[in-house]
Structures are given as structure tokens and as C-alpha cells.
């Protein structure tokens, strides 16, 4: 295990280095003067010179890359042109909101996807199977920005069942101010017992979370189904069936456990995708997360902010992958061996 751990960690470090390098390369592709890209087009000569000095734009590329990596490691992710705040600080404020949205969505996705997968596997090739496959295929084919618009218009606009946009009713900031510990509103509201903000946030979460959940729910249903069908073909499951356990019991008790590995790792991967899919949803629902931040950054050609968002999500993705692999290595010795 220690050998596997070191090898896997070493690999992750390499990937992180590559991610930083690639982000650097993409941002240096900016046509024109990179100093302008970082100091903003209205920058004065002095500001441009400062930007040049700060990013060492006259240094050789290797030095620049090194400095860039060093600044990142120190938590200096540059200053946003749009908000005029440090990008790292902006992201620290926006990311918890994204986490909240995608976390809620993943709960929905797992709660819907796994049972649907079990159902489809139980009635393999039957009508339930067909319906589940059809639904899950539709779910992964939906353009998420469009789904967000449709859901918002129908359920918030026309029917008025849910709030239209935002994270919670802003006026509550005055009537029952929220004390923040984690910056994840719903968690903070829960631990401080701030019920007005808690219920308001929950209420605002419903629609965007359902929209973000569509894609992962579809993938999870498909994967659960596939993994279960494969596992139930294995000897131990057949034995259990021969011993008189019911079909559902076999699936859930004997097949679901071994199938949990691949499904779990898939969930972690889908999580990272859901964050990016969430970007488009956040823009529609005005959710104050990384996605809305990115959408604003696009509209204001805010290069440092875009670089920050790209880097953050990529790092998150690497971390999710690493966690899954380590977890699997821990659970399944076969993974370590190979």
C-alpha cells in the first residue's frame, strides 16, 4: 500500500504541475499585450509597467512560469479586472455556493439514479428497464442551459411554486443576519439555527439543484444498471439466487456491494463535471457561485478570473480522482497490485 500511495501521489503532483503549465500557456495565448490582459485595457503606463514587473513579463518564459507557480502556491491568484478583488478571495466566496448547489444536486442524483438503476437491472429487458434507459439517455442529452430556462420559466415563472433566482431572500440579511463559518449558506444557517435563511435557501435550491442533477442522475442510473447486471451474472450472486433469495434482495445485498466500487468512483468523477455543468445553471438562476463568477468574467473579458476558475476546477478534479483511486486501493487490493 505505501508504494501504491507514493506512486499515485507522485502522479497527482505531476498532473498538477501540468495543469498549472497548461493554464499558464492558455492565458499567455492572449492576443496582444499580456500586461494589458492582466492590468485591464484602461491601465495607465505606470500600471502596465507595474503589471509587467509583477508578472515579470520581460523575463524568459521559464522564469515567468516558475513565478506564476510560486505565486499560486502562496495563494496569490492575481486580481480580477471586474471585481478589482484578489481572484483567490473571490473564489473563496463563490466556491462554497457552488459546492452547496452541486452537493444538493449530487444527493438528488444518487437518490434518484441508484434506485432507478436497480429497478432497471431487476426488470432487465422489460418495460421498467426500457423506461429507465430512455429517461437516463434523455437526461444525459439535455442541454443544461436550456433545461434551466424551461424549468425556471415553468415552475418559478408560470406556476410560481419556487423562487425565480438567487440563493436566498436578500432581505433576510437585514432581518436575520447570517453568521458565517463555512461560507456554505445552508450549512451555516443550520449550525447557527438561522431558520429563515435555512428555509429560504432550501427553497431557492430546489430548481437549480434538480437541473444540475439531471445529467449525473442519468449517468449513475446507467452505471448502476450495468454494474449490477454484470455482478448478478457472477457466481456468488447466482448462488444466492439459487439459495432462494429474491431478485431484488440478490441485487441489493449481493450485487450492489461489489458494484459499489465502480459506481462510487463514477460519482466522484461526475461530481467534477456537475460543477462545470452547474456553471450554465448558475448563470440562469443568478446563483452566486463560481459559474456566475465565470459568466461575469467572460462578459468582462476578465482573464485573471477565468484563469483562476479554470485552475480551481481542474485541481478539484485531480483531487477527486486521487481520492477515488486511493479509496479504491484501500478497499480493493487488486487495484494496488496492478
Amino acid at each position: 500500500m505505501p508504494r501504491y500511495l507514493t506512486r499515485r501521489l507522485g502522479q497527482a503532483v505531476l498532473v498538477v504541475a501540468g495543469v498549472v503549465g497548461l493554464t499558464f500557456a492558455v492565458m499567455r495565448l492572449v492576443p496582444g499585450d499580456p500586461a494589458v490582459a492582466f492590468a485591464g485595457p484602461r491601465a495607465t503606463e505606470a500600471e502596465l509597467a507595474a503589471a509587467r514587473a509583477r508578472f515579470g513579463l520581460d523575463d524568459p518564459l521559464w522564469t515567468q512560469l516558475w513565478n506564476y507557480a510560486r505565486d499560486l502556491a502562496r495563494g496569490d491568484w492575481g486580481v480580477s479586472l471586474h471585481t478589482k478583488q484578489p481572484v483567490a478571495q473571490d473564489l473563496a466566496l463563490a466556491f462554497p455556493a457552488s459546492l452547496e448547489l452541486v452537493g444538493a444536486a449530487m444527493i438528488v442524483a444518487v437518490a434518484a439514479g441508484v434506485p432507478l438503476g436497480v429497478l432497471a437491472a431487476r426488470f432487465k429487458a422489460g418495460l421498467p428497464d426500457f423506461s429507465v434507459r430512455l429517461t437516463s439517455m434523455l437526461a444525459v442529452s439535455l442541454p443544461v442551459f436550456w433545461l434551466a430556462l424551461v424549468v425556471q420559466t415553468v415552475f418559478a415563472g408560470n406556476l410560481g411554486w419556487f423562487p425565480v433566482a438567487g440563493e436566498y431572500d436578500n432581505s433576510l440579511d437585514v432581518t436575520s443576519p447570517l453568521r458565517v463559518y463555512t461560507n456554505i449558506t445552508i450549512v451555516d444557517a443550520l449550525i447557527t439555527g438561522n431558520w429563515p435563511i435555512f428555509t429560504s435557501t432550501l427553497w431557492h435550491l430546489v430548481l437549480p439543484a434538480l437541473v444540475v442533477a439531471a445529467y449525473p442522475a442519468g449517468v449513475i442510473a446507467q452505471m448502476t444498471r450495468a454494474a449490477l447486471i454484470e455482478e448478478s451474472g457472477q457466481d456468488h450472486a447466482r448462488l444466492a439466487r439459487a439459495l432462494g433469495f429474491g431478485r431484488i434482495a440478490v441485487l441489493t445485498r449481493f450485487a450492489l456491494r461489489p458494484a459499489a466500487g465502480p459506481v462510487l468512483s463514477l460519482i466522484a468523477l461526475v461530481f467534477a463535471y456537475a460543477i462545470v455543468n452547474g456553471f450554465l445553471v448558475e448563470a440562469v438562476f443568478n446563483w452566486p457561485g463560481v459559474g456566475r463568477y465565470a459568466a461575469d468574467a467572460i462578459r468582462s473579458l476578465d482573464t485573471p478570473a477565468i484563469a483562476g476558475v479554470t485552475l480551481l476546477v481542474a485541481l478539484l478534479y485531480v483531487a477527486a480522482n486521487l481520492a477515488v483511486d486511493l479509496l479504491q486501493g484501500l478497499v480493493d487490493p487488486r487495484v494496488r497490485g496492478r
Partner: protein, 319 residues
């Protein structure tokens, strides 16, 4: 750890599922499964048993046909291009305009038909580019092995650390928005999948006896690659391509929706949704039909790809 899976999984027998989530349309391909069945035969097989895959194939054929024939079958072909009729803005769906008209009076059905051309062009261009780069590097990696393989695989690791939409988004911001930008931006994020897939196939093939024998007999490396490695890669790559097409279409639409892709007056579905967004509650058809077009196209690619994958899976585990 992913690359460990690549190594000759076909021989490995029981493997923990080599999950290769690919792109937003990301489905699963059994990486490294070497098969002799051709996609065409598989398609026939799929059609026999799988209603969904058949439906996908039929829908897709219709969409391709519609795209090819758009100038002839569109009720107002000029509306797919540069014509505008502001006086007829926002007519609701009816006899004259089945899908209604948009904010500058263009027939939406016609624009959707022309939009199919844009979307399919992007999908084909992206996949061709990604497959060309990916397969080449993959063959090199798999055949050469050693440090060459390691380097190429580490590079794919880095690219795979970016969700497709994210990296294309960053690229599209720094480049000028256009259809070509979208193609390049998405292809850059997609090639590693093909590199990995092909590398796995190449490695398992070049480890076989007959390839060893050929090598001993002094058959030059390029010949071995062309004779033995590439043909074996065709099937898994084709399946992966059909699975990915849906994801590419969704990503491209998302980029255009964000204003980073096609621009007016190009007919593009994501752009149509974005332009009509503020009219959704008052003139529903402006947004609804382009969105449905994206959904149906991505759906038909996805079910077709999934059907192909299932039909080609030797263990038939998901059927």
C-alpha cells in the same frame, strides 16, 4: 491509476470496470477490448435487439438528411442565412411558419434545419481532429512503449484533468469567438481519450505472438502498425466516436450559448437559445425549438453509441 487499466485489459480477464467517462455526454467504453466485429455488423445486431438504438439510428439519419438537404427543404432557405424581416417578428407557430419566427422575423424551422449543418459540422470536425491526433499519439505510445508511452500518457493525464467545457471555455475566451474556435477548443480537450484508447489497443496487439513474429522477421514498424495495430483500433474508436458526438454537440451548443462560439447571422442552436432567452416567457417557440433540436440530436447520438457499445461488448453485460 487510469493508465494501469489501459495495459492489455483484454487479456486481463476480470477487471474492475475501466470507467472512462468522456465529456459531458460521457458514457462508457470498454477500453482496450479487441474485437473483430465491425461497427456496421454491430449496428445491424443492435438494430435487431434494441429499440432505443434503432430509434437513434433512424433519428440520426433524418437529422443528417435534413442538414444535407436544408437549402432545398427549408420553407424559407434565405432565413437560414442573412435575410431578416423585422415586420414579421415573433409570429407564433402556424400555417406559414410551423415553428414561428424569431425577433427579426426569420422562420425558426428554416434556421433549425440550417443549424443542423452547423452542429453536425462542428461534431464531425472536432471528432476528426481529435481522433487524428489521438489515434496517432496512441499508436505511437502503445507500439513504442517505454518512456515514450509514459510521456504521452502523462500529457493526456494533464488534459483529462480539465472538464471538456472548462478548458474549451478558457480557450474560447482568449481566442476570438467563431465556429473555428469552437472546433479547435473542443478538439484540444477531446483527443486524449482517443490516445488512451488506441494506446491500450496498440499495446495489447503488439504483445501478441504474431506481431512479435513479424517483428522478428524484420517487418518494418510502420507496416506492423498499419497491418495489425490500426485495424484493431477501428472498432473501439468508432464506438467511442459515436458516444462522444452527443457530448461534443452539447459542449459546442453551451459555448455558443455563452457567446463564445458561432455569432450572428450563423444559424446555430445554442446561439438561438441565447438570443431568444429573454423572450421565453412571452414567445415560447423562440427558445423551445432550438433546445429540442439540441436534445434530439444529442439523444440520437447517445443511444446509437450506447447500442453499438452494448452490441460490441463480448460479455454482453449491459444487455
Amino acid at each position: 491509476m487510469k493508465d494501469e487499466h489501459d495495459a492489455g485489459t483484454a487479456e486481463a480477464g476480470k477487471t474492475p470496470d475501466p470507467i472512462t467517462v468522456s465529456g459531458p455526454g460521457g458514457l462508457v467504453v470498454p477500453a482496450g477490448v479487441v474485437l473483430r466485429r465491425t461497427p456496421l455488423r454491430a449496428l445491424a445486431g443492435a438494430a435487431r435487439g434494441d429499440l432505443l438504438a434503432t430509434a437513434g439510428a433512424v433519428l440520426l439519419a433524418a437529422i443528417v438528411l435534413a442538414a444535407l438537404l436544408a437549402p432545398w427543404i427549408a420553407p424559407y432557405p434565405e432565413d437560414g442565412g442573412t435575410a431578416t424581416h423585422p415586420a414579421q417578428a415573433l409570429l407564433s407557430p402556424g400555417a406559414g411558419h410551423w415553428f414561428g419566427t424569431d425577433q427579426v422575423g426569420r422562420d425558426i424551422l428554416s434556421r433549425i434545419l440550417f443549424g443542423a449543418r452547423t452542429s453536425l459540422f462542428i461534431a464531425v470536425a472536432v471528432l476528426a481532429l481529435a481522433a487524428a491526433v489521438g489515434v496517432t499519439l496512441g499508436v505511437v505510445a502503445g507500439y513504442a512503449g517505454g518512456w515514450v508511452r509514459d510521456v504521452i500518457m502523462r500529457v493526456t493525464d494533464v488534459f483529462l484533468a480539465f472538464p471538456a467545457l472548462l478548458l474549451s471555455l478558457a480557450l474560447a475566451v482568449v481566442l476570438q469567438p467563431s465556429v473555428a474556435t469552437v472546433v479547435v477548443a473542443i478538439a484540444v480537450t477531446w483527443w486524449p481519450w482517443y490516445a488512451r484508447l488506441t494506446a491500450a489497443v496498440a499495446q495489447s496487439v503488439s504483445a501478441r505472438g504474431y506481431v512479435d513474429a513479424a517483428r522478428c522477421l524484420g517487418v518494418p514498424a510502420p507496416v506492423i502498425v498499419f497491418r495489425h495495430v490500426l485495424p484493431n483500433s477501428v472498432t473501439p474508436v468508432t464506438v467511442q466516436l459515436s458516444l462522444d458526438a452527443g457530448g461534443v454537440i452539447l459542449t459546442a451548443a453551451a459555448l455558443s450559448y455563452l457567446g463564445l462560439g458561432a455569432h450572428e447571422p450563423t444559424a446555430e442552436w445554442g446561439l438561438m437559445v441565447q438570443q431568444g432567452q429573454s423572450l421565453f416567457t412571452t414567445d415560447w417557440w423562440v427558445v423551445t425549438f432550438p433546445g429540442l433540436a439540441i436534445l434530439v440530436t444529442a439523444f440520437s447520438f447517445n443511444v446509437l453509441g450506447e447500442g453499438l457499445r452494448a452490441a460490441l461488448d463480448p460479455r454482453g453485460r449491459s444487455r
